[in-house]
Each structure stands twice: as C-alpha cells, then as structure tokens.
C-alpha cells in the first residue's frame, strides 16, 4: 500500500471559464497520481438540467478537457471528470466522451481506456418507486416527494458517491467521465480505493473540489495540489502568488455550505468539528482531526427540474419623480389591466415586476424602504404555457405602465420610458422540483459504468 497519494485539482467548475494553464503546468511537474475536476453546479439554475442543455460554451469545455487529457496521458495517470457538462445528464456524459475521443484522435494519443458513468434517472422510474411505497425524503425543509411534483419534473439525476468511480478504476479506466457526482467523492474515490482512511479521503475531496478557492488571495481557475497520507491531508497552492493557509482552508469549509462543520455525502457525513490546521510550509497547510461517520442506510441525493412555462421580458424606465413615489400604484394599475383580460395570475400565467433602484435584487428581504434614485428600471417578466400568451401578457403589463392613472400626474403623454417597444423571448422557465434523498440497497443502483478502448 502506498504511503501517500497526490491529486491535482485545476478548476472548481470545468468548462465554466477556461482553466489557467500556468499553475496547472506547475502542478503537472509535481507528478501527481491523479488529475481530477468537477464540472457540475446547481448555481446556474434549473434550466440547464430541465432543458438538458449545456450552459458552458463547448469551446471552453474542450479547452479544459484537452489541458487535462494531454497532461494525464503524458504522465500516464488517471483523469477523472465529474458531473459532465454541468448537469451530469446522459447527454453531458456523451458530449464529454465524444470530445475526449476527438481529442485523442486529433493528438494521435496511444490507446487508453475510457469509462463513462451514467447518472440520469427517468422520472417514471421514480414514480414507480413512489407507487411501490418507497419514501423519497425532502432536503433543506422540503416535504417528501409526491406524485404531483414528480409529474412536473422534466429531467432528474442521481448524485453518485465513490463506488461507481472505484468500479471504473477497478475496470482499468485511464479516463473517467462521470455523470452527476458528489464533488468530494470524485477526489475521495482513488484515495479510498488505495486504502487511505475514509475521513482523510473525503476531507481531501472537500478541500480540493473548488481548486484555488481554498487558497489566498482570491483567484479562480488556478490549480492546487492535495496529498493524503494515513494521518493527514496537506494542500499546496500551485500559483506563484497564492498560498494555502489555515485561514484559507478553514474558510473554504464554509463556502457554499449551510454548515461549516458537517459535509453530507452519499453514505455518510464528514465531520470537520475538530479539524486542526497548521501552516506546513509557505504555500502548504496541513490538516488533521477530521472524522467520517457512515449512515446506517446508504442514501443517494436526487436532483430534478421541471418546466414552468415560456418566459417573456421587457424593460421600462421611470424618470418622473411623482411616478417614482407612486410606483406601487403604477404597477397595480398595469397588473389590473392584465387581470381584466387574463384573470387572476396562477395556473394560466404569472407576472413579475422587478423594480431595479428599489428592491430589484432583494425583493421582500430589502430592509431599505426609501427610493433614493432619480430613476427606476422595471423589468417585466411574464410566464405562460404558450409563448404567444407570455408575449402578449408581457406587452400588456408593460405598455400599461404608460397609462397608469395617477391623480396628479403632469406628464400625460406617458409615464414610462420604453427601452424598446418589443418583448424579448427568454429561455423557458424551469423550477427545481427535486432536492431529495432516496435509500438504496446498492450504491451503484442508479449508475451504469461502461468502459471502452479509445485509440488515437
């Protein structure tokens, strides 16, 4: 058994913006045992999953995969990419696998084994499980999954733990393209397979998954190098201007997570309550004291998004100070005109007025009531099942900003400035319908591992 294993992490979100190659090459020269990167994110909203589209430009995805693939094949070490093409659907996995094959051909790479791991779950399969009485429990305060919510779900994925990746490595994979994956599990899998303690392996994953966000000062897309031993995890910044410090690593534990002490993973929880952080050398921090507790039953997280309708948008400006003071009445007038024609908002349509200059960013959470600007920007957003309806509702709700009947208005030729008299077509609206967990008998239950030889 080896006494240490090193992993290079070049980016926290493969393809989102291109990897910075300088610090990556510094990392490659340290001859890591694995190159691993996560491509997934829920931050981009429910549209990419629901519509099964890739939000990142294919040119950037190709760039990042090329940077990693060429280095991995040159070093002769495995490369792992998770949550392919942001959402980790079958389309994303196939897209990344195709890019890898094209790159292998273009660079005439010696033959290697490519594993793909699918993670997509058909809503009908989940429906069958619900009908069989299986509980699909809500996360973050959500109720349990119901048939109604599932019927509104266009597409769903399961989030894999370490087991499918370990299986792919066991099958001799040199390159692994995984569907939706737990970020930490991608990095933990080879360490657990090599016999390192689960706690250290999962902590390695937790700290490496966002690459240079765990270092300081703030820089994105730079590489960091993690080393796991049987006692500790050490992390080193590869960019000449960055360092990994106790503060930068400890801060990273809370980034994007509700709780900085506990990281929920498929099959258990990583406990960071008693972590100790020590500066090891100028650019390296050493961490000990993590713990991992297995759950009594293995549970897998599910993510799903459903289509809500077509979206239309338009933009109006308000400059009259009297109109600005009465902006709520103006909006109420415009809403009223839409309701006269289309009835109350609800199933048939929805209409939103975003008032930039007042509470456009924070809505009801905005503590400052007073409007202090001399002008406001209104974005009108209409959602309806059919585009033609969304368009006409948006136009009606915008043009009536113009005709609001205020008792003392002086500018009777129009109380709003239209940036253009047109309605813009937004991407269809989607909503996160599934943020749940399901118990499984086998950690591989939702995932299919396939290995094929790629010849340049």
């Amino acid at each position: 058994m080896p006494d240490r294993l090193t992993v290079l992490s070049p980016t926290g979100h493969l393809g989102f913006t291109p990897i910075e190659t300088g610090s990556f090459q510094v990392g490659v020269e340290r001859r890591p045992d694995f190159l691993i990167a996560d491509s997934g994110s829920c931050d981009i909203g429910p549209h990419p999953l629901g519509a099964d589209e890739h939000p990142s430009p294919q040119a950037w995805q190709r760039h990042d995969l090329e940077v990693m693939l060429l280095a991995a094949r040159r070093l002769g070490v495995p490369m792992v990419v998770g949550s392919a093409s942001d959402t980790g659907t079958d389309r994303g996995v196939e897209q990344y696998a195709r890019i890898i094959r094209e790159l292998a051909h273009a660079h005439r790479l010696p033959a290697f084994r490519l594993a793909t791991i699918s993670a997509e779950v058909r809503p009908e399969d989940l429906l069958r499980r619900l009908e069989e009485g299986q509980r699909i429990a809500g996360l973050d305060g959500r109720p349990d999954l119901t048939v109604d919510v599932l019927k509104r779900t266009s597409r769903a994925v399961a989030v894999m733990g370490v087991e499918p990746i370990i299986r792919a490595l066991d099958l001799g994979a040199d390159v692994i393209v995984a569907g939706r994956s737990s970020d930490s599990a991608l990095f933990a899998a080879p360490a657990i397979r090599a016999g390192f303690p689960e706690a250290a392996a999962y902590y390695l994953g937790k700290v490496l998954e966002c690459a240079s966000f765990a270092a300081e000062p703030f820089m994105g897309k730079e590489s960091i190098l993690g080393t796991v031993t049987h006692e500790a995890v050490t992390v080193t910044a590869m960019h000449p201007g960055q360092r990994c410090t106790p503060a930068s690593l400890a801060s990273h534990a809370m980034y994007e997570r509700a709780d900085p002490f506990f990281e929920r993973l498929p099959g258990g929880v990583l406990d960071m309550t008693h972590c100790r952080y020590e500066q090891h050398d100028e650019k390296t921090t050493r961490v000990t004291g993590f713990a991992f507790r297995r759950d009594p039953a293995y549970r897998v997280k599910l993510e799903g998004a459903g289509r809500v309708g077509e979206r239309a948008l338009s933009i109006a400006g308000i400059r009259d100070p009297y109109t600005i003071r009465h902006i709520d009445q103006v909006i109420a007038w415009a809403r009223g005109k839409v309701e006269e024609a289309w009835g109350q908002p609800g199933e048939r349509y929805r209409l939103f007025y975003h008032v930039y200059g007042r509470d456009g960013v924070m809505g009801a959470w905005e503590p400052q009531a007073a409007i202090t600007s001399q002008e406001l920007c209104l974005v009108v957003e209409a959602v309806a099942d059919r585009w033609e309806d969304a368009e006409i509702i948006c136009a009606l709700g915008t043009r009536n900003l113009f005709y609001a009947r205020l008792p003392e208005v002086k500018g009777t030729a129009g109380t709003a400035a239209l940036m253009m008299d047109e309605v813009l077509r937004g991407k269809p609206g989607y909503e996160w319908t599934v943020n749940h967990v399901i118990g499984v008998r086998d950690p591989l239950e939702f995932f299919r591992v396939t290995v094929a030889e790629v010849t340049g």
Binding site: P46, A258, P260, F261, E431
Partner: protein
C-alpha cells in the same frame, strides 16, 4: 461611554452564496481574533437580529453558527422559492449580504 462601528469596518469578508437550491448562506469572516470576539460578544449579530434585518421570521434561518476555525459568523436562510424559479432576482444568491454592512457594533471608546 461607548461608540459603535459598522460591521463592514470590522470584517474582512461579508458574502452570500447559494447553499444548494433552497438556501442562501452568509459568511462574515474576520481577519483577527479581536474583531471576531468583539462582534461575537456584542450580540449584534444573532439569529434574532438578522431575522429582523431581513424582515423574516427567525425560523427561516436554518443554521446560525460561530465558526471558530474560520474566525467567522455564519448563517443560512431558506429561500422564498428554489433558485432560478420564475420571478428570480439573484440566481447565485450572491448579492444578499449588503444590508449586513451597516449593522452597528458597540466598541470600547
């Protein structure tokens, strides 16, 4: 006699960001223990004061922790609706922190 200073003068980082699709988490991070302890002990930042500032019931705050290793105070708020739903104002949840800037912190003269 004691004065006050706004939180923005005492913290190194004040940020917000999605924590999953249903929650937004807030990190107030200090550069040194003295500032961290001053704010922590002032009780100016608690579940109740934050709820009042954001005009939400305190039970909408799902986590409120003092995070010693990061010299940080951290809390998490359940969203009105999942991120990116129609009517969304902040898909990444990344601009919900500025009201924290002006929270007055009592300081010794």
């Amino acid at each position: 006699m004691r004065g006050t200073r706004p939180l923005v003068d005492l913290a190194k980082t004040i940020r917000s960001k999605n924590a999953g699709v249903d929650q937004i988490t807030f990190d107030v991070i200090f550069a040194d223990r003295a500032s961290y302890d001053l704010v922590r002990r002032s009780r100016a930042l608690t579940r109740e004061t934050v709820a009042a500032l954001y005009r939400i019931p305190p039970d909408r705050i799902t986590t409120f922790v003092e995070y010693e290793p990061g010299l940080a105070i951290k809390f998490t708020i359940r969203r009105d609706r999942p991120s990116g739903s129609p009517g969304e104002r902040d898909v990444f949840g990344s601009q919900q922190y500025p009201p924290l800037f002006q929270v007055p912190i009592p300081v010794p003269e």
